[in-house]
Symmetry: C2
Subunit: 462 residues, 2 copies
C-alpha cells in the first residue's frame, strides 16, 4: 500500500482542509444549531466519492446515508455522527471553538475528536483509495447520525424507512484515541445510558431568602434527594440498580489485565491527587470499563454569579447520567429511580427522562475485531489497547448489536483530546495516520478469508 | 397636618417622577454597576432639600451623608441604601427592570421596594414639610449606604471618618411593607447573617462523563457536603450552631402571638401547599422571626442548559446564607462550619466568606418605637404588625445597636413586592401614603416628651 500512503502524504493539506471545513460548521444537536447545513455538507462530501446518498428523515435530525456498492464480497459500514456537543463554557477555550485553528500541530475545534476527525478520515480514505486504485476492496456504507450527542433517540427511524442500511458485515464505529505510548485504543463495545433531569420546585417565584425559615427551598430538596442516590463510597443506593449486572467473563478479564492504562500520566495531566476510592491497576480499569455509574453532569438553582445575592430560589434542577453495563435495562432503572425517590420522601422531585440506551459488546473473536486488532499492531507498531467496552456510550445496541452486527470502534483522537470539554483537539498527524489505517483495515477485511492463519493468535488479544 | 397632606396629594405626580428617576438609574453594588452615578444622584436629591451633603468614601462604595440641622431638640436619622440587587433572572420580568413603568397602579423596578421607594418617600416628606411649613420639626440626617445589598462590609468606614453621623436620637431604618389587611409592618430589629460560597474542584478541566467512574466529581462532593449541613427536618447539624441562641423574652413572645401573619394568603399567593414542617400560627411566626436559617441561595456545576450534555464538571460552587439571631457570632459560625466540613471528610471543600453581620434588636419601649407603633395605628387605621426582629438582614448592629441607637424599620412595600426577585414592585398609593406617614412620625417624635401619656399603652404592642 506504499503508493496509497504516498498519495495520502502528498495530499495531506487537502485532507486537513476538508476537516477544517467540516469543523467550521457548528452542528450542535441539542440546540438544533447548524444541523441542516451540516447534514447537507456531509451529503456533498459523500457525493464527491460517487456514493449514492440519501438524507433520511427521522423524528428529529436526519441521518445521512451513503453507499458505494461495487459488487464486492463484503460490505463494511462506517457509523459516525455529524453533530457535536455544545461548546460552553466558551470562556475556557483558548481558540474559537468553530474556527478549526491549528496550533503546535493540533487542530482545535468542538467535535474534531468526537467525531468529525473520524468521519473525515474515513471519507478521505475512500477518496485516496479511489484515486490510487480506481476501486475499493469492499462495498462501503456510511451511516452518519445527526443526534448522537443527544442520545440518538430517533436515529433508528432511518433503519425502519431504509432497511438496507443494516445490510452489512460490520461497522467501524465512530471514534477512538491513541494512548500516550502511541498505541491505538480499539473498543469492542459501549456502555449504555440513562440520562435524566431531576426537577424541584418551591414557591412560584424567587423570594428574599429571609423567607427560607418557613418556605420550601427546592435547592435543598434536590441536594437532599441527590445525596440519597449515591454515597461517598461511590455506591449507587437505588434498590435493584446492580441486579443483573454482567461481570466480565474470563476472556474479558484477560483483556482487562493487559490494558495499558496510563494512570499516572492521566492523573498528572488532569491535576488529580488520585482516583476515586484510591483505585489502581486492574481494579481501576475494571471500574472504568465494567461498572455502571451515576453522575451529576450539571446542577443549577438560584443565584450563581459573583458576590452575594440573598435569594430563596423557586426552582432547582440537576442533570444526571447513569452509564449502564450489559444486563441493565434503562427503562427499568428509571422506574427504580422513581420508586427510590418516593420511598425516600422525595415524591415532589420530578424526573424528566432525556435519553436511554442499552450497553453493547462485540465478541473479540469476530473477524472484524480480529482484523482491526491485528492490523493496528502492525500499522502503529504497538499492540493496541483493547477495551471490551468503552466507558462512553452510543447507540450501538440499537443500531448494531440487536441485529448481531459486529461493531469495532477506533479513531484519531489522543488521550488529551478533551472531548465534550473546552479546547477539544486532535493532533493533525494522528488524522493523517488515521486515514491510512482506515485504508489498511478495508483492504485486510476484504482478504480476511484468505489470511485466516494470521488471526486468532491468542497473543493478539491483550 | 391637613394642609401638608393636601400639598402631597396635589404634588404626587412630581414625587412619583422623582421615584421613577431614582429607579431608572441601575445601581447594582455586587457588579459595581451605576454606583457612582447613583451616589451623585442621591447627593443632588439631598442638596435640593438644602441639606449639607458629603459623599463619604469607604473601602468600597461611598456613603452619601446629608444633614439638615435647624437647631431642633431632637435629631432623627434615615438609614437607607442606594444600591440594589442584580436583576437576573431577567427573562422572568414582565417589564424592563430599570424602566420604572407603572401598570395597574404598581411601579415595577429593581430596587423600588428595597429600598429606593423608601429613600424617595423620606426625601419627598422633607421636601413637602419644608414647602408647607418652612421648617422641619426635628434635625434630619440621611445615612445612605452604597453596599447594603452586598453586606455593608465597609459602610462603617464612613462613621470612622465622619463620627457625627451617629449623633442622633434614632434611626428610621430602611424599609418595610404593608400587610394584606392594610396594616404596616414595624420592625424593631434585624437578623444577622453569614454569607459564604462553598467551592469544590475535580480535574483541571471538564471531562467526558464516562470518566466519572474513576475521577472525582466536584458536584457530588458539594452535594454530599451540603447534605450534612442541614437535614430534611430543617435542623442545622453544624455542632454548636445553636449555642447561645437567645429565645424571645416574655414581651417579645406577647408581641409574637399578636402578629397577624397572613399565612393562608401568602401560601395561596406563592402557590405553596404548606409551610416547612407544616408549621402554623405562633410556631410559624416564631420560626420566621427568632430562628436562624441555613439557605442554599444558589448552586451551579457543569451543564445547565436544555437537553443533555454528558460532562464530568471540573468545578462546583454553592452560595449559602445563614440568617443569625442575637447570641450568634458569624465569625464563630464560619469556624464551626470549617470544622464541620473537616470532621465529615470534606476538607477538600473551600469556604469563601462573602459577608457577615450580627443580629440587632431595639427595645419596644423605646420612644421612637412607641411613636412609630402608635402613630401607625392612628394614620393607617389599623394596629401595625410589630416584629421584634425582621427575618431579613442589614447592618443595624454595626451602625446602630453597638452605639445603643434605637432603630425602627417601616416602608412603602406590600406583601407582594417581590424584593430581590423578578417583578419587584410597589403600589404607587402606598408610596404617597408613606410620604405622609414619614411627616407624621417626624412631627410626633418631636413632641414625644409633651405627649407621653398617649404612649406606653400596653395594648399598643401587638
Amino acid at each position: 500500500m506504499e503508493k496509497l500512503f504516498k498519495y495520502i502524504d502528498e495530499n495531506q493539506d487537502m485532507y486537513i482542509e476538508w476537516l477544517q471545513d467540516a469543523c467550521r460548521q457548528p452542528s450542535v444537536s441539542t440546540q438544533n444549531r447548524g444541523i441542516t447545513e451540516m447534514s447537507q455538507k456531509v451529503a456533498n462530501y459523500l457525493k464527491n466519492l460517487n456514493a449514492k446518498v440519501q438524507i433520511v428523515p427521522t423524528g428529529r435530525h436526519p441521518v445521512v446515508y451513503g453507499k458505494i456498492m461495487e459488487d464486492k464480497k463484503k460490505t463494511l459500514s462506517f457509523y459516525n455522527h455529524y453533530d457535536v456537543q455544545p461548546e460552553d463554557p466558551i470562556e475556557l477555550w483558548n481558540y474559537p471553538p468553530f474556527a478549526a485553528e491549528i496550533h503546535d500541530g493540533k487542530l482545535f475545534a468542538r467535535g474534531v475528536a468526537d467525531n468529525k476527525g473520524n468521519l473525515m478520515a474515513r471519507i478521505a480514505a475512500i477518496h485516496a483509495y479511489q484515486q490510487v486504485y480506481g476501486e475499493l476492496p469492499v462495498n462501503i456504507k456510511f451511516f452518519v447520525d445527526g443526534e448522537e450527542e443527544t442520545g440518538s433517540q430517533y436515529t433508528h427511524d432511518a433503519i425502519e424507512s431504509v432497511p438496507e442500511i443494516i445490510e452489512t458485515d460490520g461497522y467501524i464505529w465512530e471514534s477512538g484515541y491513541k494512548t500516550p505510548d502511541g498505541a491505538i485504543s480499539v473498543r469492542l463495545g459501549l456502555k449504555g445510558m440513562l440520562y435524566v433531569e431531576l426537577q424541584a420546585e418551591g414557591a412560584n417565584t424567587d423570594l428574599h431568602s429571609s423567607n427560607a425559615a418557613i418556605i420550601k427551598n427546592p435547592a435543598w430538596r434536590l441536594v437532599w434527594a441527590l445525596s440519597t442516590l449515591k454515597d461517598v463510597n461511590e455506591r449507587v443506593n437505588i434498590k435493584g440498580f446492580y441486579d443483573n449486572v454482567e461481570p466480565p467473563n474470563e476472556l474479558e478479564e484477560k483483556i482487562l489485565e493487559n490494558i495499558l492504562y496510563h494512570e499516572d500520566h492521566m492523573k498528572e495531566n488532569l491535576g488529580l491527587d488520585g482516583y476515586l476510592l484510591n483505585l489502581k491497576g486492574t481494579d481501576l480499569k475494571r471500574k472504568l470499563i465494567f461498572q455502571p455509574t451515576c453522575t451529576i453532569c450539571g446542577i443549577v438553582s438560584g443565584y450563581t454569579g459573583e458576590g452575594s445575592k440573598t435569594v430563596l430560589p423557586s426552582k432547582a434542577k440537576a442533570k444526571i447520567d447513569f452509564r449502564l453495563v450489559p444486563g441493565q435495562d434503562p427503562s427499568r432503572i428509571v422506574r427504580l429511580l422513581r420508586k427510590h425517590l418516593d420511598d425516600h420522601g422525595f415524591n415532589d422531585i420530578k424526573i424528566l427522562k432525556i435519553s436511554e440506551k442499552k450497553a453493547a459488546k462485540t465478541n473479540p473473536n469476530d473477524p472484524l475485531a480480529q482484523v482491526v486488532i491485528k492490523e493496528a499492531e502492525e500499522f502503529y507498531g504497538k499492540k493496541p489497547q483493547v477495551l471490551s467496552m468503552s466507558p462512553g456510550t452510543g447507540p450501538m445496541y440499537k443500531l448494531a448489536k440487536q441485529y448481531n452486527i459486529p461493531a469495532v470502534s477506533f479513531g484519531v483522537g489522543y488521550e488529551n483530546s478533551k472531548i465534550h470539554a473546552p479546547n477539544e483537539n486532535i493532533r493533525v498527524m494522528d488524522y493523517i495516520e488515521g486515514i491510512k489505517f482506515v485504508c489498511k483495515v478495508m483492504k485486510e477485511f476484504s482478504e480476511f478469508e484468505d489470511n485466516k492463519e494470521k488471526y486468532f493468535d491468542k497473543e493478539a488479544i491483550h
